[in-house]
Subunit: 263 residues, 2 copies
DNA sequence: ACTGGTATACATGTATCCAAGTATTGAGAT
DNA sequence: ATCTCAATACTTGGATACATGTATACCAGT
């Protein structure tokens, strides 16, 4: 079983990321430097409420690991940065807190949630159970049109990999899994999957090695292949394998990377 | 497939409930009468933040269907009622909104979320998938101690039924399912189940006929029986059957009850 | 050198005020 | 009688001021 550890991020193998201002060393959480926050951009006047937009900007930054785990998130620094009042910022942070993306401790501060192996276990379990259940339903109503659509998504994903578009890769990946859910009318279930997925996505974005991207492509293809041949069991096996790989990423960590893990 | 309908509650078969002030007829949402809110009690000075406590009180009232679906929830009426400012009430309602228990439309009002069959479908699917997956794990590590503990819970549940303690029944029911999750160290997954369950719980609390309670008891027993004999497949079948019954509650609705459904 | 108490700067939580949008109401015109 | 439209009374969203708790920095006493 995996230990309960928190991963302190310094640098990902494939991606650069904005560093938290030495969270462990620096005494004062919020100095003149806001630790990566200043790189965030907030378009005033766009659609939606201010709180929604603030939430969206912060969420994207956290999920895409542009804001490192542990980074202090001060309501004041955010509302200075975005030129809005504390009220919508507070609402946004509250939402992020409920999504498990931000830890807020009263009178102390709020911080980007660390990458916890525990959370990864739960996230994996939930996602796996739900996606397999969905796949079972989809297998029962599989059509050629569906197959064609899924293959198109895979091709799109191949293209963005070729172009070196990392963000695009993750978007297409989400499309793949999302579409399977909508095939059997389980949009509500997809929302639950999406909620559980963020934990894995953050982990993945941080640790995934570039060579992994092509493997994902093949694994997606294997699922569709099995569905095309009408072998539901094989499809489940393939999808299960695909989802389990995230754990293997943990196993692949180099010694140096492992050494960054506290306790 | 079930249609997308909203259930407007007038009175449950087994329970009395505070009526919304004729939501469909009354023009003004918030009159001098706040539609059931006045029955809610808020203990000042207890532990936790004000926002947390407000959230807890409202959540319990909604889940236990003491506040009827469709009841207007005005921030002002709440903070008058509880003698607190709007800010923590706002935070509480935002949380409830994210939990799907309250629908808030800007500049119009917030309302206790209606009972949607759609939501029930998703809720059922999620709960079923996750609980079955957990049961599969538990079956692999089943011990006599676990069996004894579960049987004790069932006995407790029998006692509260005997005593006519409806709230106690639902608490014990939650204990039963919760304990299974903790046996295999899936507390995080239980939280997800709990989130999905509220939709079903509200439905159940509203429609469940008294004779159903004893059936639940037998079904719980059947699951444990199967686990004791080491028949994992039978256990899954029994649990699946148990969870599916909620849909049957919908089928059992009398014609008069059905007529209350709009569209 | 080290320990202990205090001052200060920061955080989030709460209260209140203002802005902007929606739905009902009721009067007046058709 | 019916329709149009302005006034009004609500709502939630946002901005700001204040309350309260925490952690560091600093300094005095040992």
């Amino acid at each position: 079983m995996y230990p309960s550890i928190e991963i302190k991020c310094d640098a990902g193998p494939g991606f650069d990321l904005v560093r938290a201002t030495d969270v462990s060393e620096e005494a004062r959480p919020f100095g003149p430097d806001t630790g990566g926050l200043e790189a965030l951009r907030f378009d005033p006047g766009r659609g939606g409420s201010v709180a929604d937009r603030v939430h969206g900007v912060l969420r994207a930054a956290i999920v895409e690991v542009r804001l490192a785990p542990g980074t202090p998130i001060s309501e004041n620094s955010i509302c200075r940065q975005f030129s809005v009042s504390r009220t919508p910022v507070r609402a946004a942070i509250q939402r992020l807190s409920e999504e498990g993306l931000v830890d807020v401790s009263p009178q102390r501060g709020s911080f980007v949630a660390p990458l916890r192996i525990d959370g990864l276990r739960d996230s994996h379990f939930i996602r796996r159970s739900l996606e397999l259940a969905i796949l079972r339903e989809v297998a029962g109503i599989w059509t050629e049109e569906m197959s064609a659509e899924m293959r198109a998504i895979i091709e799109d994903q191949a293209r963005v990999i070729e172009a070196g578009n990392h963000d695009g890769f993750f978007e297409e990946d989400e499309r793949f899994h999302h579409r399977l859910a909508t095939f059997c009318g389980r949009d509500g279930v997809w929302e639950a999957i999406r909620g559980a997925k963020v934990t894995m996505t953050r982990f993945y974005r941080y640790w995934a090695h570039p060579e992994r991207l092509a493997e994902v492509l093949r694994e997606h293809g294997a699922v569709i292949d099995a569905l095309d041949t009408g072998d539901a069991q094989e499809a489940e096996r393939a999808l299960s394998l695909h989802l389990d790989v995230v754990f293997n990423v943990f196993d692949r960590m180099s010694e140096e990377e492992r050494r960054n893990l506290p306790a």
